[in-house]
């Protein structure tokens, strides 16, 4: 007799098998990237050879640092991404909070206007921004690239933050008002702490979007402001050697490592449920 339990057992087994497949599917690219970065020649090896490190070397990494001018690009990436986070938060947190305080049509109009900016593909913005920046002398500067990034971040972040602030129950602010909060106190000591984890998560997202951004950098960074995503392209091809996949792989590992470390350390902030228990239960 095939009991219900055995049927259930079979179903679980199938689910696990599917999950396993999915795991391999999603982990294979990054694993292959790391493997390729640690082998001498990546291109003509079979994946199995690469995974067994038949031709193990750290040479690709030292090449990436020396020939790749890694620290130059890294500095640009850090400065642009970090500034993008700071400025986005300074602009968008008050903006979004303010939007949740106005009601009706005005709010919808502003919210839609902000969101509508998101409809524009970046590539449409890149060329006009380039022409404008050339005229303003901002082309090839970190400031110019940063401004381009902000044109993406600000609408996106504002829209996210309005959503966060909307989850704060109005009774919480009323309790604050009765307790004697000034408007600033209300914002800083009552409402903002409640959405803190959301703000931190957003900051990480903004950082990662800036860190990975390529298109604007290609158009606007000139020579002096190039971030890592552009830096990697110098190994893509050249008269002498063709694409150097081992170095590209090493470089790519170096590009994503800080982001992964950053996300892992900040992970504890990205815990929802801060508002649990504030209201009802």
């Amino acid at each position: 007799m095939i009991s219900a339990r055995m049927k259930k057992h079979g179903a679980i087994w199938i689910v696990h098998a599917l999950l396993g497949l999915w795991l391999v599917f999603s982990l294979l690219p990054p694993v292959m990237l790391v493997a390729a970065s640690l082998n001498r020649t990546a291109l003509f090896r079979s994946p199995l050879d690469l995974l067994m490190f038949r031709d193990f070397t750290l040479e690709n990494f030292s090449q990436a640092f020396t020939r790749g001018d890694f620290w130059f690009f890294f500095t640009n990436s850090v400065i642009i991404s970090a500034s993008a986070v700071v400025i986005t938060l300074i602009v968008c947190v008050p903006l979004a909070y303010g939007l949740t305080k106005i009601s009706g049509r005005a709010r919808e109009a502003v919210s839609f206007g902000v969101l509508a900016m998101r409809f524009i593909p970046y590539v449409v913005l890149a060329l006009p921004l380039f022409l404008i920046f050339v005229n303003l002398g901002l082309s090839g500067s970190r400031v110019g690239l940063l401004l381009a990034h902000l044109s993406i971040h600000i609408p996106f972040a504002t829209w996210m933050l309005v959503g966060f602030f909307d989850t704060v129950p109005h009774e919480l602010e009323e309790a604050g008002i009765v307790d004697g909060c000034s408007p600033w106190n209300l914002f800083w000591n009552v409402t903002l702490p409640v959405v803190r984890s959301g703000v931190v998560a957003l900051a990480i997202l903004v950082f990662i979007i800036s860190w990975n951004e390529y298109l604007f950098a290609l158009f606007l960074a000139g020579n002096d402001a190039q971030p890592l995503t552009v830096g990697i392209t110098r190994f893509l091809g050249g008269a002498e050697a063709g694409a150097e996949y081992g170095i590209i792989a090493a470089y790519a590992v170096l590009v994503i490592a800080p982001v992964i470390l950053f996300a892992l350390t900040a992970n504890r902030f990205i815990v929802s449920g801060m508002t649990a228990g504030a209201v009802k239960g």
């Binding site: 009774e171 009323e174 008002i177 909060c181 504030a278 209201v279």
Partner: protein, 351 residues
């Protein structure tokens, strides 16, 4: 401590008037319950006293001070919200001390006053916890603690028990009442639950559609409701109503049965009145109104009988045990002096 005086207060949101000229005098130290169905304006009135809404016209006095244009924090009030309104990122102690901290009270004093309030409410063991680690009843106590710590002139409660389960509600009801007896701070309490109002209040203010229908002690309202609305709203099971015509000193019902009209009411022959009788004021009798039993509900302490007088449903609550069955005839009579007569048009009390 201070009383609260609500003087001809009106409130409109946009063009919609929700409060139509309300006058209430709340004595120093009184426990006043604003009660009424949802949408009657009771919460709005409380928020006006708190300063979370402004008045369209009229005045709010706390003690001898008109507070119309004062910020909530300057009114010397504390409020307990339906959903508690605790700050989720602060511990119980920080929640309770927040108002004092904002007011610039020094740390030692804050700790002392928070400690006192925690003592009163049995919260000592919970001071370092966060709201999310507390049960509903504990959260409600913290919300009260936050109010007590400030030592205000007036406590305002906005349906504080409606998120609690039935058993806890009864328990917290008693706790709030004891708290008031101990602190003797003027309290305005909003609820839609007439049992809460009856059990807790010194004075009940019944509101409906933005006006005060009647204000008085719980038993006054119960014994002599001033109008049909209060008569029907206060009391559970609700009062029975049936229309009767006055005919030479008797109240004649639609099916021809009649009762002697109570004395002291100015009635004229042919006048139609609405007769109100509370379910527990009907007793089994040899002569009186003959009703047909529809349903019998023993609750242990009492028997609730759903019956019919002609076409009108009548509820009878009997304290003695009777062997009753559906479809049998039950003759009941009202206790002397317990008939309520109302004018069906003006809804006002006639006796």
């Amino acid at each position: 401590m201070a009383g609260v005086s609500i003087q001809n207060v009106e409130k409109a949101f946009g063009g919609v008037r929700v409060i139509h000229g309300i006058d209430i005098e709340i004595a120093d130290g009184a426990f006043v319950v604003l009660v009424g169905p949802s949408g009657c304006g009771k919460s709005t009135l409380l928020r006006i006293i708190a300063g979370l809404e402004d008045v369209t016209s009229g005045a709010i006095m706390i003690g001898d001070t008109e507070v119309n244009d004062m910020a909530p924090k300057d009114r010397d009030i504390a409020m307990v919200f339906q959903n508690y309104g605790l700050y989720p990122h602060m511990t119980v102690a920080q929640n309770m001390g927040f108002a004092l901290k904002l007011a610039g009270v020094n740390k030692a004093e804050i700790a002392k006053r928070v400690g006192n309030a925690a003592d009163i409410l049995n919260l000592d063991a919970l001071l370092d916890r966060f709201p999310r680690q507390l049960s509903g009843g504990q959260r409600q106590r913290v919300a009260m603690g936050r109010a007590i710590v400030r030592n205000p002139q007036v406590f305002l409660f906005d349906e504080p028990l409606s998120n609690l389960d039935a058993k806890l509600r009864v328990q917290m009801r008693a706790e709030i009442k004891q708290l008031h007896q101990r602190l003797k701070v003027t309290t305005v309490y909003v609820t839609h639950d007439q049992i809460e109002a009856m059990t807790m209040a010194d004075v009940i203010v019944v509101m409906h559609d933005g006006v005060v229908k009647q204000a008085g002690s719980p038993l006054d309202l119960y014994d002599t409701p001033a109008n049909l609305f209060v008569a029907g709203f206060i009391g559970s099971p609700a009062m029975n109503f049936m229309d009767a015509t006055v005919t030479s000193g008797a109240l004649v019902f639609a099916d021809g049965q009649h009762l002697p009209a109570p004395e002291g009411a100015a009635l004229t022959d042919g006048q139609v009145v609405r007769v109100g009788i509370r379910p527990e004021d009907l007793v089994v009798a040899d002569a009186g109104l003959s009703t047909r039993v529809r349903i019998v509900e023993p609750t242990g302490a009492e028997i609730h009988v759903g019956a019919q007088l002609g076409d009108t449903p009548v509820t009878v609550v009997l304290r003695e045990r009777h062997d009753l069955h559906p479809d049998q005839t039950l003759t009941v009579a009202p206790l002397a002096g317990r008939l309520h007569l109302f004018d069906p048009k003006t809804e006002a009390r006639l006796n």
